[in-house]
């Protein structure tokens, strides 16, 4: 999750109040942001993905100042008309159909401020913008642009401009191939016939979203006073919300917000719209959910602490909040304002009857029998690798692979459990023998009869490593287990490449092959780098349970 680094000085100016350190830490945690660290000069907080409006120092301070009572209720942001126009051509419909735009004037940029703005843009790109896929944001020095601006799509070979931080003009395809931003985000335009571009009235390319701005017209400097902002993507609502988050943050930097006319041909819009959205709330519903008995005035006071207004069963939702889609979302804000720490705890006096899963209980009973035989239980991962499952066991079985594991050691699902015990034995060579271990784990195989097309079974595996062990020992254990379960069974000779020929058997219960057992072949023992004889068995508990229950 994204973190933001906040200068304490800027933060305290914005909040309008200075809190003692302990109080500050406490309030940050209970506002619903994870405090990473606080130092003399800096606060680092982690912002949850539902609150992109807190990804800037301005946005975070805005929420915080209400929460601690330094300010209250809905913030008023005035939007003046600029009469500037953005023409959206039909050609963008197939590649990046929407944009929402605004102008913010009267900003005083210095190094620090430029960094802050770029930071907001980047944080929003990564989170709310889903790495520019959903939203790409462009911020431009307005003085270098001649309006009206056109959002159009052109063939890549027709797009030539000097991208940010580049010394020369490049073609669109060159940018994708050579420019760092092109390499990082080029995949978002891959395979498109035309690429989207913002162009001004002088026919200068401003940017090619979602990749890069122009060096000439798309770079903010200390001389910049006014900026043009556009958000482009696929969902107009999301873009408007993102634009609101940026312009209100810039407004908190003393900028003045101006709207722009968006000409979509047959439809026209004006953005940004910072009017709050109304949402109907049922205070008794929210009280019931939270276990509170808040009266309307208290409810009003609490919701104002979260930056909302309240009137006549309606809350006014700030235009920058992206997470309020149901009234339960108001419940959470009320809970935060009320203070999670202030909730009583209680267990309702309602009787329900507990019930253990039968198969889980069965597995537990099997384990207890084995412990009685002096075996030690181990727990191994269900995710493993092909070398362990097949090669080291001298077998060749079909297994299910994970599509995207980041580890080469753990990238397939277990087909059988015994290899996990062999691995454990090979890791414990330096410990006292005999070693008698067991484990119960899941095995996986393809089977179209199941919803996931994967069949899962729980299996028991036992391995005994000892100078003295032989087939008899494994056979005695399976005899003991099945006798204890009062089952009739047959033993037949089996061929299995992990076992010594003539010393391996299968166990049949109710006509089903439920287990195999025997002496592990010396080749397999050596492949695990072991020097002690091993006998083993593997029993399908899921199938066995079907006959027992």
């Amino acid at each position: 999750m994204p973190t933001i680094n906040i200068s304490r000085k800027v933060f305290e100016q914005l909040v309008g109040r200075k809190l003692p350190l302990e109080k500050l830490k406490d309030r940050i945690s209970y506002l619903g942001t994870d405090l990473e660290s606080v130092t003399e000069n800096e606060i680092i907080v982690e912002v949850f993905p539902n609150r992109p409006d807190m990804l800037s120092v301005q946005g975070f301070a805005r929420a915080f100042s209400s929460f601690i009572g330094a300010k209250k209720g809905l913030r008023k942001y005035t939007v003046e008309k600029s009469n500037e126009k953005v023409i959206i051509e039909k050609s963008v419909a197939d590649v990046r159909p929407y944009t929402a735009c605004a102008i913010v004037k009267n900003l005083h940029f210095d190094d620090e401020k430029i960094k802050e703005v770029i930071d907001i843009q980047e944080k929003l790109h990564i989170t709310y913008g889903r790495n520019r896929k959903k939203v790409a944001i462009g911020i431009y020095p307005f003085e270098k642009i001649k309006t009206p601006i056109t959002f159009t799509a052109k063939k890549p070979e027709e797009i030539i401009f000097q991208p940010l931080e580049s010394s020369k003009k490049m073609s669109a395809l060159q940018i994708l191939k050579e420019h760092p931003a092109g390499k990082a985000y080029g995949h978002l335009l891959q395979g498109r016939e035309k690429f989207p571009v913002f162009i001004d009235a002088n026919n200068e390319v401003l940017s090619m979203p979602p990749i890069i701005n122009s060096h000439k017209t798309g770079k903010i400097s200390e001389n910049t006073k006014d900026v043009f902002i556009e958000c482009s993507g696929f969902d107009f609502n999301v873009l408007k919300k993102c634009l609101n988050i940026i312009v209100t943050a810039l407004s908190e930097m003393n900028g003045k917000i101006y709207s722009m006319e968006l000409d979509y041909g047959n439809r026209k819009f004006t953005t940004p719209n910072l009017e709050p959205e109304e949402m109907k709330v049922d205070i008794s519903y929210l009280n019931k959910l939270l276990g509170l008995k808040l009266k309307e005035p208290v409810f009003k006071k609490l919701i104002e602490m979260m930056g909302f207004d309240y009137k006549n069963s309606r809350v006014m939702v700030p235009s920058y909040r992206a997470d309020i889609i149901h009234q339960v979302d108001i419940a959470e804000d009320i809970a935060i304002a009320y203070g999670y720490e202030n909730f009583e705890s209680a267990i309702p006096n309602v009787a329900t009857i507990g019930q253990e899963d039968k198969f889980e209980a069965f597995k537990s009973k099997i384990s207890d029998l084995l412990v009685g035989l002096g075996l030690t239980e181990t727990i191994a991962y269900n995710v493993t690798n092909a070398e362990f499952q097949c090669k080291k066991m001298s077998t060749d079985i079909d297994f299910i692979e994970l599509a995207n594991s980041i580890s080469a050691e753990y990238n397939i699902l277990r087909v059988w459990v015994l290899p996990s015990l062999m691995e454990i034995l090979s890791n414990n060579k330096h410990h006292e023998y005999p070693q008698k271990i067991f484990t119960i784990g899941t095995v996986f195989r393809k089977n179209g009869k199941f919803d996931t097309n994967v069949e899962e079974n729980e299996r028991l595996a036992i391995a005994i490593a000892s100078e003295k062990t032989d087939y008899t020992e494994a056979r005695q254990i399976i005899d003991y287990l099945l006798r204890s379960l009062d089952l009739k069974y047959d033993i037949i000779e089996a061929e299995h490449s992990s076992f010594i020929p003539g010393r391996a058997a299968r166990v049949i219960v109710n006509g089903k092959k439920v287990a195999y057992l025997g002496e592990i072949s010396p080749k397999v023992i050596r492949s695990w780098n072991l020097e002690t004889p091993v006998t083993a068995l593997e029993l399908n508990l899921s199938e066995l349970f079907e006959t027992v229950k």
């Binding site: 149901h326 935060i336 030690t376 239980e377």
Partner: protein, 509 residues
Amino acid sequence: MDIAKLIQTLHPLERKVLPILEKTNSFDEIAKQAKLQKVEVMRALQWLQNKKIISLRQELKEIISLDENGIKYREKGLPEKKFLSILETEIPLSSIPEKTGLGKDEIGMSIGLLKQKNAIEVKAGKEPIIKITEQGKKLLERKFPEEELLKKKFPIDVKDLNQEEKSALENLKKRRKIVNVDVVKEKIPSLTELGKKIVKEGIKGIAIADKLTASMLKSDLWEGKTFRRYDVKINVPSIYGGKRHFVSQAISYIKRIWLDLGFKEMTGNMVQTSFWDLDALFVPQDHPARDMQDTFYIKDPKYGKLPKELMKKIMAVHENGWTTGSKGWRYMWSEEIAKENLLRTHTTVLSAQAISKLKKENLPAKFFSVGKVYRNETLSWKSLFEFIQVEGIVVDPNANFMHLKGYLKEFFAKMGFEDVRIRPAHFPYTEPSAEVDVLHPVKKQWVELGGSGIFRPEVVKPLLGFECPVLAWGLGMERTIMEYYAIKDVRDVYKNDLKQLRESKVWMK
């Protein structure tokens, strides 16, 4: 202890060894006279020392043994001897290998050694010629001292060698893999004052039974017998019984807590469709948690099957909120994405499935599970890719946020954590959402142990058919028990180190 009692404690081995100690303190000699194995003598001496009857002085010995070349040369003779013995006249160097059967290294070494002894001359030239000297011929008349040494019976104590043998040993030590000289510690026993008294008193006359046997009992031969007294304080070798893994022990306990609180156990598959694991829980399809790097997806079978009726509702709730009063996430929901198989990222998937099977008349209902979940992460001291989650839900029309805190407090109190707090958090499927912290019993700091909240109507209504508060939590199991087992590195929970497992303490909560 008085001497008479002390004598009664003597083991048969001690009894055999003790009288001999008066005559000799040579280890080999004791073994020979007592007709015992050396380990038995060693054991007896150790016990006698424990009883302060003898004292043991440690002495270092140099013991010579033969290495692989030593054994070979003892059988087949030394290479330089063989070399010298074929030199009747002068012969070219090139013919030596064939005549002696010696290797290149052995020939080189032999030339060096024999030249040193002035036994041969080498005429340099295009074809070097080897010639035996008078001295060489003389040397051939008798055995080399090294040969004599190799013929002795090994192992040999260096102390037992004469001067000539010692210098032969020095020569052999310089050569490859002929002899090994190991320093061995040997213990030399001598009787203490107490020991001398006991020997003087004599131990032979006293009849002491060592073991009570079945035949003694049957024939009543035990009557009138004195049994050897044991040193009851002595350490004995450790034994290990069979044992459940300490995680299993804790799981049993955790299950019992929930069972006692009236919860039913849920189980289910590890492989699930994204639909059940994520979509049914209102996680939008472009949510970062669904990214490839967080979740293990299945390569083949890539897709599973979806329940058609439920799917329509879930699709609607994502796109426009369906009939829940929510706006939904407002995007085009994709069946294709929902069909993708994955390894369950949380046991909350089991909660969703349990809710989907409930009817109005089953309420209130409470469920729990303790099961494995998966995250595509690299193993490290603080993260596992496969771990256990403790899951719980309370489906109750009258449940509220206070109760959530109540159940969590109850559970953690039974797990040994005196205090629990909840903090605001975010999960796509709960609102309000809360992080669960417990007060670390030793460090007195808050430690994050899980997430919780009340399921959103967008989750509950499609699954259950109507709106109802559902309290839910998912807690990390490993972190909850690490303090008890003094484990710092989470990987050590599943290390399966047999020593750790054999010696782990029993879960005593």
